[in-house]
Assembly symmetry: C2
Homo-oligomer: 429 residues x 2
């Protein structure tokens, strides 16, 4: 069993910009090889990485202990995300194996068809090139993000929270060994080995060596990256999700969906934050629904019409309609009809995930068409907005943008399509 991998270069990095450029050029070169690597080679590497992670679990855990010992300023939640144990390391390896089992999107040819000129035109799926991942002190992201990028044929530069540096280096060592075993360049996946925060600035402002940045973490990180980036960003901002219980809702489905959307997990971005309900059914549905919420310990904040039905509900302020609580708190508003519900979502929502509960076909169709969110649902819990639930196999993040990828982003979001043209000596007249 080898000892904890030393900080190979970290101690000697003085010029961060030059260092990031060096990593970037190496990634750019590796990306050429990755783009043409066969599915088999990529899978061989992924399986070898998973095996290495399992074999080196004690080394990874030792490195993680070193990180934890040095991490004084972290709160309990951050400390929990930083800390690894045997089952978390096993889950990391299992996740990498799962990605090996996904279909390889690279090289897929779509819509190849003859044109009147005689040429055949279609589109071939290709990697984006070099992906930069910026994340907080969560070592499991290192394996997960690296594996997804590798499967999609991209080189990747990983910049995790400095508190996790030793854990990340230990995982990176497993990744290098796996790449090497498959005959792929080890510079295909590189970890930034400096705690210097200027490394993030250098990484996000060099379009010559990075094709896309995926920030994963808190809102502060994502806002900073988005504001300063000179390369495209796949970003995830707020999740102010709504369930609208329509006048024509089935009461059982309404109770089930609205409860699950709020209470299945409080801290996730696809959790319900504001419940909207048509005035004609509010008096019938809110009392049993509120009883469920109260039993689960959810604090309710409502509009005047909500409080007219249940006087124990707290008065909601304007701020409540914008709030992403990520906590057992729910804002409730009674609306006149579908139009007022959609107007509320447009004004206060974050275009993440919104659902309608209704038996009315026309209302369902209008909600699907007109609500401009990355996921729009009928009679289903907002908690389903997730790459695994959608069948993507894995997700690199959830995009709240419309450009390129929207909603849960899996392998396909890490690719592009080029045009291919097949002729037989065809020329343009």
């Amino acid at each position: 069993m080898s000892s904890v991998a030393p900080v190979s270069e970290g101690a000697n990095i003085s010029d961060t910009t030059a260092y990031i450029t060096r990593l970037g050029l190496a990634a750019r070169a590796a990306a050429i090889t990755l783009a043409r690597a066969s599915t088999q080679m990529k899978n061989t590497a992924l399986l070898a990485i998973a095996t290495e992670i399992e074999a080196q679990a004690p080394v990874i855990l030792q490195a993680n202990e070193r990180d934890l010992a040095a991490a004084h300023g972290l709160d309990a939640a951050m400390r929990d995300r930083l800390s690894l144990n045997a089952s978390r390391v096993a889950a990391m390896a299992a996740g990498v194996r799962e990605i090996a089992s996904l279909n390889d999107p690279i090289g897929e040819i779509q819509d190849l068809a003859f044109r009147p000129s005689g040429i055949q035109v279609g589109r071939m799926r290709v990697p984006l090139g070099v992906v930069g991942i910026i994340y907080e002190a969560r070592p499991n992201v290192t394996a997960d993000a690296a594996a997804l990028c590798l499967k999609a044929g991209n080189a990747v530069i990983l910049r995790g929270g400095s508190e996790a540096l030793h854990s990340n280096q230990a995982i990176a060592r497993c990744i290098s060994l796996g790449l090497g075993a498959a005959g792929l360049p080890i510079t295909a996946i590189q970890v930034v080995e400096t705690a210097d925060r200027s490394a993030v600035g250098a990484l996000i402002s060099n379009p010559a060596v990075v094709d896309v940045i995926v920030p994963r973490g808190g809102k502060g990180l994502i806002e900073r990256v988005s504001r300063e980036a000179k390369v495209p960003v796949i970003k995830h901002l707020d999740g102010v999700c709504h369930v609208y219980i329509d006048a024509d809702a089935d009461i059982d489905k309404a109770l089930r969906v609205a409860f699950n959307a709020k209470c299945q997990r409080y801290g996730t971005c696809n959790t319900l934050e504001t419940l909207l309900i048509a005035q004609s059914c509010a008096a019938r549905i809110l009392p049993p629904l509120f009883a469920q919420y109260r039993a689960a310990g959810v604090e309710l904040r409502g509009c005047a019409a909500t409080r007219a039905i249940d006087t124990t509900v707290k008065m909601a302020t304007e701020d409540d309609w914008y709030a992403e609580y990520l906590a057992p708190i729910l804002a409730v508003r009674v609306v006149r009809d579908l139009d007022e519900a959609m107007a509320h979502i447009r004004q206060y929502g974050s275009q993440h995930t919104d659902a309608i509960v209704t038996e009315n076909h026309t209302h369902a169709q209008r909600f699907l068409r007109e609500v401009d969110s990355s996921s729009v649902m009928v009679n289903a819990s907002t908690r389903f907005a997730d790459g695994f639930e959608y069948g993507l196999g894995a997700e690199i993040g959830i995009s709240t943008d419309k450009f390129h990828a929207r909603g849960p982003v899996g392998l396909e979001g890490l690719t592009s399509q080029k045009w291919i043209v097949l002729g037989d000596g065809h020329v343009r007249s």
Copy 2:
């Protein structure tokens, strides 16, 4: 016949940023209506716009004369692009009618399928929102870009070269009348009515009111927009296109494709700029090919091996390999094999359009897979890289980026996809 439309607001715009924000907010509101507008309403508006353009041709031409009279500093090519005549106005109207005849991409649902949880998951095509188009003094772009954005359900803000302001206003008046006739908000398509250059800066740096910018014009404009933009940009930079004549090329196809790619039109971005040829067939193919080029008046600049075959060819410099001549000049390089050809393309190309001429299946497959350009071709002229030739019906531009849209961008590039989930009271466990 009404007279030339007056500059309605242009003379009074003092605060450009506030003005652009005003246009943007109006566009944002109109975009909501556009997104849910039926195909029929959009087509009615497009056909009404075409009819107005035809009816008001004399007014448009009068406005154009006013622009031409004021445009002293323009060179002949720019003046030609600015000037309209009866047949150009008719072509403008015909172009708008053609866009009306294209399939509406909005609302298309793709891959709707059941997941193990019981929910149905698919993706619905939706508009991007508000599109900003920045272009030079080419009034035909006003009608063309507006029509494409409208068909894709987007609101649009058009900022054409100030030399074309009166022409653009006259065309904008036709557009407003057409939108009004269809019952759509006239703020769905707005023309920036100030010549102040700071309007461009304001337009590209306000992600709250603009979702994507499409710059159309010279490299200087595009580089400036890309550098300063705070919103996504669909951009087109250089077209340094290659044809590689492989050792296994058919000589007739090679002569035909290499000649057409260079000589069918010199000034376009998909024109051949550097010819690569395998050394084993250079002595056989270059002499007859050079004879064709010389007959067409093309100046040849070659590497040492090229000049060993034809001593009258000028010596190429390193700069020639990077050059986008847009002129009857061709750089020629003899390479060892496919690998050296692809290495040359990687080093000097601009990832626009590259073609191989070969009868060898493996070489064709490798070229298609490994050349990282927006269009990659086998035995076909690079001149085919075009939205119309690819069957897009029309194009808003050609993207040399990989993110979002790549290569010719038609209606689909002006859209996004959201996730839709259909359940029957399904909740997540």
